[in-house]
């Protein structure tokens, strides 16, 4: 292997202690360096279990997980966790500091970052999530969206190789979601980082290079967002929706409008319609 994958799952099976069914059944996939992968699937499909396995919060009954070439096991766990930054759905459960700035400092202190470097990182990570000016606010007095941005800032400050967002935007409004996604996209343009978003939000999926669709503890499909949303009907059968644009283009197709490619954005669909309109 010339370049190790950032994340590799080999034949992972996992069962919760009281569960009667396997949460993951022989799951294998790779995530490349600097890749953005979205994992989707309905509740109970196994997506959040994957996130918890990635940094060793859970241990699989069988199979091997590697993060940046390191096997996730008891010996390497702390080394692995330095490389993986996680943001969960409910920000209330992840605050430790009494002020925003303390909270960000906590992670940095744990990683033994020098003071002048700390100051620099705290500043840029708050700027990245557009929370400058909130340094001395108490986290529990912030709104849901603001809390989530602080949680993301704390993770950005650590400069992990891999950022995992486990339904991290579920509590935000559409504009807030978009701004978090753009923040992450911006970070990715500045340095090498792999991103794994575990999400229900279909527009969030469009930011990803690749999508892994989970169903009943198994990898159901892998592909680009365009390839995946092309499977409109099959996705519906496993309880997943497709974005508005996909639904509309499917309806247009059934009215006899010919589209050259599966549009993903409003603009792409509008351009397709315009092409049809102006064709002689």
């Amino acid at each position: 292997m010339s370049q190790p994958n950032d994340i590799s799952f080999q034949n992972i099976s996992f069962q919760y202690p009281q569960g009667d069914e396997w949460a993951l059944k022989d799951v294998s996939f790779h995530i490349e360096e600097n890749e953005w992968v979205a994992i989707i699937g309905h509740n109970g499909s196994g997506k959040s279990t994957i996130a918890k396995l990635m940094n060793g919060l859970l241990t699989p009954q069988s199979g091997r997980i590697h993060i940046k070439g390191l096997e996730v096991n008891e010996e390497n766990i702390w080394e692995v966790r330095k490389k993986v930054g996680m943001v969960f759905q409910n920000p209330d459960n992840q605050f430790v500091g009494t002020t925003v700035i303390d909270d960000i400092a906590f992670g940095l202190e744990n990683h033994g970052v020098q003071r002048d470097e700390m100051l620099k990182r705290m500043k840029y990570s708050l700027e990245a999530v557009k929370m400058e000016g909130y340094e001395n606010h108490e986290p529990h007095n912030l709104s849901g969206g603001q809390k989530q941005r602080v949680a993301i800032a704390s993770v950005l400050a650590i400069e992990p190789d891999i950022i995992i967002l486990d339904e991290a935007t579920a509590m935000l409004d559409p504009i807030g979601r978009n701004s978090i996604m753009e923040t992450v996209d911006h970070v990715r343009s500045e340095r090498d980082v792999s991103v794994v978003t575990i999400t229900h939000d279909l527009n969030e999926v469009l930011f990803a290079d690749r999508v892994i669709v989970m169903n009943d503890g198994e990898v159901w499909k892998e592909g680009t967002p365009r390839e995946i949303f092309n499977l409109h009907k099959e996705l519906g059968e496993i309880g997943l929706d497709t974005p508005f644009v996909t639904q509309l283009s499917n309806s247009l197709k059934s009215e006899g409008i010919v589209l050259n490619q599966e549009p993903l954005t409003h603009k792409e669909l509008m351009d397709e319609l315009w092409t049809f309109y102006s064709r002689t």
């Binding site: 009281q18 309905h42 509740n43 109970g44 759905q89 409910n90 912030l142 709104s143 849901g144 969206g145 603001q146 339904e167 579920a170 509590m171 935000l172 409004d173 559409p174 504009i175 807030g176 229900h200 279909l202 309880g239 997943l240 929706d241 508005f244 644009v245 639904q247 509309l248 309806s251 247009l252 059934s254 009215e255 006899g256 409008i257 409003h266 669909l269 509008m270 319609l273 315009w274 049809f276 309109y277 102006s278 064709r279 002689t280």
Partner: protein
């Protein structure tokens, strides 16, 4: 329950350096039986507002009338206790409030606290379970063994047991998958229609407001900035953008369609298939004109 807010303001930690105006001179009327949606950016004052509906917060100034109850800054909390029996609030992530050993005990905890007789509890239970789609077989299970969606239904069942005149829902679908979200909203819509109670939905989802509400309030920085039927409010795309809100995707697309093709398709609740038909007609006409 008829709801009237007159110049209601709420200031947190008044006369301290931390003083914060969360609501400013808010006035509105929600007629009994309506399904209203309150929408606003995070931090717009929505959560402060809903805590006034059952007297968890009192206004710093102004006057609130909830049915027969009047709430002002001077009102004593014990006088508004009865209001809480008639206003059911489903908070965000209500499943976090579950604590009892069994589903049955958890559902009964609230009603018992409010002094509802065991007879009434027993007679209402089957009906409530039906409305939230929980099988009776789950009653003896621990609520913590259930799935996230089921746990949330248990918490909601506890609220519905009081058969409140007003049901306040704070982001009731957060964290559910799309199918779960739709099931949950359809359930609230059904409960609303069956009992003719007043429902207030606090949401980020413009799509849900468009689909379920008959009246919409837009909050920004503690002020009520717009109100009207969903169709009226969502026509004002620019004004909504200014307060950090996006119009529902379908309306956004129709606006873009109009500016591209010069022909408008007014939105009146058509399905996607119906809209596709209307668009196809316009697009085909273009082809013929060439």
């Amino acid at each position: 329950m008829d709801i009237l807010f007159e110049n209601v303001s709420h200031i947190y930690q008044k006369n301290t350096p931390f003083e914060f105006k969360a609501l400013e001179e808010v006035s509105f009327h929600i007629p009994a039986g309506s399904f209203a949606a309150i929408i606003g950016h995070t931090g717009s004052g929505k959560s402060t507002l809903i805590q006034h509906f059952n007297g968890l917060l009192k206004p710093t100034s102004g006057h609130i009338r909830m049915g027969d109850f009047n709430i002002t800054a001077e009102k004593k909390v014990k006088d508004i206790m009865d209001l809480r029996k008639r206003v059911g609030v489903v908070f965000q992530y209500p499943e976090h409030q579950l604590f009892e050993e069994t589903v049955e005990k958890d559902i009964q905890f609230g009603p018992k606290n409010f002094g509802l007789s065991q007879d009434k509890i027993d007679s209402r239970l089957p009906e409530v379970l039906k409305s939230v789609n929980l099988p009776e077989g789950l009653l003896s299970r621990s609520p913590f063994d259930l799935s996230g969606g089921q746990m949330r239904r248990v918490a909601i069942a506890g609220v519905l047991m009081m058969s409140p005149d007003l049901l306040v829902l704070d982001e009731p679908t957060a964290g559910l998958d799309p199918r779960g979200q739709k099931e949950m909203m359809d359930m609230f819509s059904r409960v609303h229609k069956e009992t003719q109670r007043t429902t207030i939905l606090v949401t980020h989802s413009m799509e849900d407001a468009l689909k379920y509400a008959d009246y919409v309030f837009i909050m920004n920085h503690g002020k009520l900035v717009m109100e009207g039927t969903p169709l009226e409010v969502f026509q004002k795309e620019e004004a909504l953008n200014q307060v950090g809100l996006a119009v529902p995707e379908v309306i956004k697309f129709l606006h873009a369609f109009e500016s591209r093709f010069g022909q408008s398709i007014p939105f009146k609740g058509q399905s996607i298939q119906e809209l596709a038909k209307e668009m196809t007609e316009i697009v085909r006409r273009g082809v013929k004109d060439e």
